[in-house]
């Protein structure tokens, strides 16, 4: 549970630790693992292998005066792993739904993923972020307007990104986290220990909102 800040000598300040569970879902090959790799390791592998089952990475960011420990679950998009993923929906505070802007099938598949999400997610007010990936490619088939409309219809955040060029990746995650932090009911049971940060200013900078819109 959260603990109120206490005054300390010097410029040290107590920061609240928040743990969040983020899920990345979407059809196979839309770039879920690449988004995660870009966000966590700032790397990109053009020959990224298909995820088997579920992958998991952790990254800590400082946002809104809080140290946020993100446990990001990257699920396999292939149909054969569909029975594995529901177990990972439990307790998720945020979900990133990814589609490929060049593949209409992956955009149409979003309905199925939303249905899965509604069926298995235990937190009904979890924050959803729609990400149209691979905008670096020239053969785009899904316009930004279509994506925006879908996101608006399903009460989701929306952003377009490219894991290859880094466009929008950081913003997608940060905006999602910001939105979750605005609803303490979502994460209060996950806040835990008290830690001391000697550089509070770095964590309190407002996140970039470029290209991200709440609809």
């Amino acid at each position: 549970m959260g603990v109120s800040p206490r005054p300390l000598r010097g410029n040290l300040r107590v920061m609240e630790d928040v743990s969040l569970k983020i899920l990345i879902i979407g059809d196979s090959g839309v770039g879920k693992s690449s988004l995660l790799l870009r966000f966590v390791n700032n790397t990109f592998d053009p020959d990224q292998a298909s995820t088997i089952g579920v992958d998991f990475k952790v990254k800590t960011v400082q946002l809104a005066g809080k140290r946020v420990k993100l446990a990001i679950w990257d699920t396999a998009g292939q149909e054969r792993f569909r029975t594995l993923t529901p177990a990972y929906y439990r307790g998720a505070q945020g979900v990133i739904l990814v589609y490929d802007v060049c593949l209409p099938d992956t955009f149409e598949g979003l309905e199925v993923w939303l249905n899965e999400l509604d069926t298995y997610a235990t937190k009904k007010d979890l924050v959803k972020m729609l990400v149209g990936n691979k905008i670096d490619k020239t053969e785009r088939k899904i316009s930004r307007a279509d994506g925006l409309q879908f996101a608006r219809r399903n009460s989701m955040l929306f952003i377009e990104s490219s894991a290859k060029t880094r466009d929008g990746v950081q913003e997608a995650f940060e905006e999602l986290v910001q939105k979750i932090l605005q609803n303490p009911d979502l994460y209060t049971e996950n806040t835990s220990t008290v830690n001391v940060s000697s550089n509070p200013s770095s964590g309190s900078e407002p996140p970039s909102l470029c290209g991200c819109s709440l609809v």
Binding site: I52, G53, E79, R80, F81, R82, T83, L84, P86, A87, E116, T119, Y120
Partner: protein, 750 residues
């Protein structure tokens, strides 16, 4: 006493003097009293004296006894004194004897020291002489003197006297030995050279020159030096010298020759004092030529050894070069192991050359025994070939099994029976024809015999089985021993498959597709191991061993079963976890939260079963896939029925909600969304045993009492087929008020 008597007399005279007359009686009385008093005093004095003497007597007795004891002590003291005097006399005697013995020992020591000093003197003289001989380059004489001095030093080493002198002479001896060795090395270096020329100096790609240069005019000197070396060098030093020489020989000449197929030996010139061997680059050289070159090298080298010491030197050289040389030759032979019948025939030439090589080893004195492992190798070349083949097969199997499990291939149907026809029978022609016809007739009569159901397996498993058949088919044209070894290798392949599959199961998380693939892989392998064996090859397989794999089948089936059951248990737990979160059905009609919770739980369960069904649909055999799917559905339906039947009192809202929910969200949803196209309603009822029961339950929830009685049909109607009397009565009691009409209805449910 006397004083007292005197006192009495004085008293009487005084009394007599004072009382002269009349007072005679009084005086008498007084005298009487005085006498009485006198008697009392006497008695008192007498008592005192008695008491005094009574105490005095014991003291007197003790004094007497003390005196006696003092006398005894005096006597003892005198005796002791005499004894001490006697002892002192004897000690002096023994001291004298000891001194005498000491003197004798000292004398001996002095004698030994004198002889020791004499020996040291002798050592000293010989050392001086040896030094002179060394100065005059008479190494052999110097070495002999040094050897003699060493022997003397060893003899006198244990005497332990004149240690300083001994140590000095020992140091001097060591110094002399070092000087002799140094001088000999110098001489050796003058006479013997070993030169390795770099390839830059030669026109060929690689040229290594080995030369022993012995000036012809100094051959005697050389022998003198070598003989001296044999005398002076200790065993270990000699070994080290030979070892260095052997290493150079192997590294510079033998190894390049044997390891590179394009190198050959060329003896450029051969004289008494100098031999030049060159390794030239040339077109590929045959193994026989290479082995002959080894013989030439060894012959050339041993020729350089002085004849007198050749046997000893050769054996030492042989010991040094033998292990690595054998390894090199082994490696060469194993690389050239024949793989075909033609190669096997030409390999006899190599075998002969190996025998020649062995003989030359013995002739040159490099080895004592005629027995070496090289000829064993060539004699057992067939075994080595089989070993290599088996090793290759196992390597291939390992390579196959390291491929991902997810790389799948469809199997089943006709391909299984095709494998049966793959092998030809090798019985007598007539019998063969008969048997072949019989088998074909059997297969056509029972088309599903030996038929593996259509499903997905890992392509690696299919390839492994193909490799197994291939390996066994190779046995047909081999000897019994080879066939036996190939059969063992085939079994090893199966062992390898089981071990790797089990380890994969242990490390992986629960993944339905992985479990199904594992199950199918096990069943596929067990299916083939059940039908493969000697009977398939008839008399084609040599030997009499059973050559069957049927013993693996129970183990593989057990593994398949446990793997699959574990997965189904895991999936059952998932469904149970969904249902666990749903509420009881009491007052559910008026509680939206309960309704929502139940709807979600059922939706999750149905969705999960549908997803699982999609995963299983292609992977598992169709029949098994349906049984899994409907088994899980049956779990859900049974739980819903049980919860409905546990409600004690249904309100109208409860009945309406449950009727609508169960008919729409379960029965219709399944039929519309999840039921397979080829699955009829009857098939669903067969596979999901509680399906019809749920339908009847839904009917009762909405039906009037007459309808229930009518559907019960006096125990013959459809309701009675799927629900028991207590269940129907419970539902009637829970749904309808307690009226005479309800009692009548209940009475009809028997």
């Amino acid at each position: 006493m006397a004083a007292m008597v005197e006192e009495a007399r004085d008293l009487v005279s005084n009394i007599l003097r004072s009382c002269t007359n009349s007072e005679g009686l009084m005086l008498e009385e007084s005298i009487q009293r005085v006498l009485k008093r006198n008697n009392e005093l006497k008695m008192e004095v007498s008592g005192f004296l008695k008491k005094y003497y009574h105490e005095f007597l014991p003291m007197a007795d003790s004094s007497l006894s003390l005196e006696n004891r003092a006398r005894d002590i005096m006597t003892d003291t005198q005796r002791l004194t005499s004894l001490i005097e006697d002892n002192l006399n004897s000690q002096r005697l023994s001291d004298s004897a000891g001194k005498r013995q000491e003197g004798e020992a000292r004398l001996k020591e002095i004698t030994v020291t004198i002889s020791f000093v004499e020996s040291l003197l002798e050592v000293h003289k010989r050392l001086i002489k040896a030094r002179e001989e060394l100065k005059n380059s008479n190494y052999l004489r110097a070495a002999e003197l040094t050897e003699a001095v060493t022997e003397i030093m060893i003899e006198i080493r244990g005497l332990g006297c004149e240690a300083i002198v001994y140590r000095s002479l020992k140091e001097e001896l060591d110094l002399l030995k070092s000087d002799i060795k140094f001088s000999l090395y110098e001489e050796w270096n003058k006479m013997v050279t070993w030169t390795t020329l770099s390839s830059n100096n030669q026109s060929t790609d690689l040229a290594i020159l080995s030369s022993h240069t012995v000036p012809a005019e100094s051959c005697e000197d050389f022998e003198n030096v070598v003989l001296s070396l044999f005398t002076i060098l200790e065993e270990e030093e000699w070994k080290a010298r030979v070892k260095t020489y052997s290493q150079k020989l192997l590294e510079n000449i033998v190894k390049p020759l044997l390891t590179n197929g394009e190198h050959r030996l060329e003896v450029q010139s051969e004289r008494e004092d100098k031999i030049e061997m060159m390794i030239m680059t040339s077109p590929p050289v045959s193994i026989e030529d290479k082995l002959c070159s080894v013989i030439t090298i060894l012959t050339t080298v041993t020729k350089m050894i002085p004849l007198a010491h050749r046997p000893d030197w050769s054996s030492k050289l042989g010991k040094e070069i033998e292990p690595e040389l054998y390894l090199l030759v082994h490696s060469l032979l194993s690389q050239s192991s024949p793989k075909t019948a033609e190669e096997r025939t030409s390999y006899s030439m190599i075998s002969e050359t190996v025998l020649q090589l062995e003989e030359s080893f013995v002739e040159l004195g490099l080895v004592v025994s005629e027995y070496t492992s090289l000829s064993d190798y060539t004699k057992n070349v067939d075994t080595h070939i089989v070993n290599q083949q088996c090793q290759d097969i196992l390597d291939h199997a390992r390579l196959i099994l390291t491929r991902p499990l997810y790389e799948t291939t469809a199997v089943g149907g006709a391909d299984t029976t095709e494998l049966l026809k793959k092998f030809k029978f090798r019985a007598e022609p007539q019998q063969k024809e008969l048997e072949q016809h019989q088998v074909e007739a059997d297969i056509s009569s029972f088309p599903f015999s030996f038929l593996f159901p259509c499903c997905l397996i890992s392509s690696s498993t299919k390839d492994l089985i193909a490799l197994l058949y291939d390996t066994l088919s190779k046995c047909e044209s081999t000897s019994a021993a080879t066939a036996s070894q190939m059969y063992i290798t085939s079994r090893d392949m199966v062992d390898l498959f089981i071990a790797l599959s089990q380890s994969y199961c242990l490390t992986g998380e629960s993944d339905p597709l992985v479990s199904v693939l594992q199950h199918n892989n096990y069943m596929y392998v067990s299916h083939h191991l059940l039908i493969i064996g000697r009977h398939q090859f008839s008399s084609g397989l040599p030997g009499k061993a059973p050559m069957t794999f049927i013993d693996f089948v129970p183990q593989l089936r057990r593994l398949a079963e446990s793997c699959f059951l574990a997965e189904m248990g895991s999936q059952t737990s998932v469904i149970e976890s969904f249902l666990k979160s749903s509420p009881s059905f009491n007052d559910i009609g008026s509680d939206p939260d309960k309704q929502e919770s139940l709807t979600l739980a059922v939706c999750q369960s149905l969705n999960h079963i549908a997803s699982l069904s999609k995963t299983f649909s292609n992977a598992l055999p169709d029949e098994l896939h349906k049984r899994c799917k409907y088994g899980l559905l049956n779990l859900l339906v049974s739980e819903l029925i049980e919860r409905t039947l546990s409600v004690e009192d249904f309100s109208v809202d409860d009945s309406n909600f449950l009727y609508t929910f169960l008919s729409s969200n379960v029965l219709e949803k399944w039929s519309v969304d999840h039921r397979g196209r080829d699955e009829t309603e009857e098939a669903v009822a067969d596979l999901c045993t509680s399906w019809e029961k749920l339908k009847e339950l839904v009917f009762v929830l909405k039906a009037e009492q007459e309808d229930i009685v009518s559907r019960w049909g006096k125990g013959e109607g459809p309701l009675s087929k799927h629900m028991s009397v207590p269940e129907v009565k419970h539902l009637i009691r829970a749904s309808f008020k307690n009226t005479s009409r309800r009692a009548e209805t209940l009475a009809k449910i028997t």
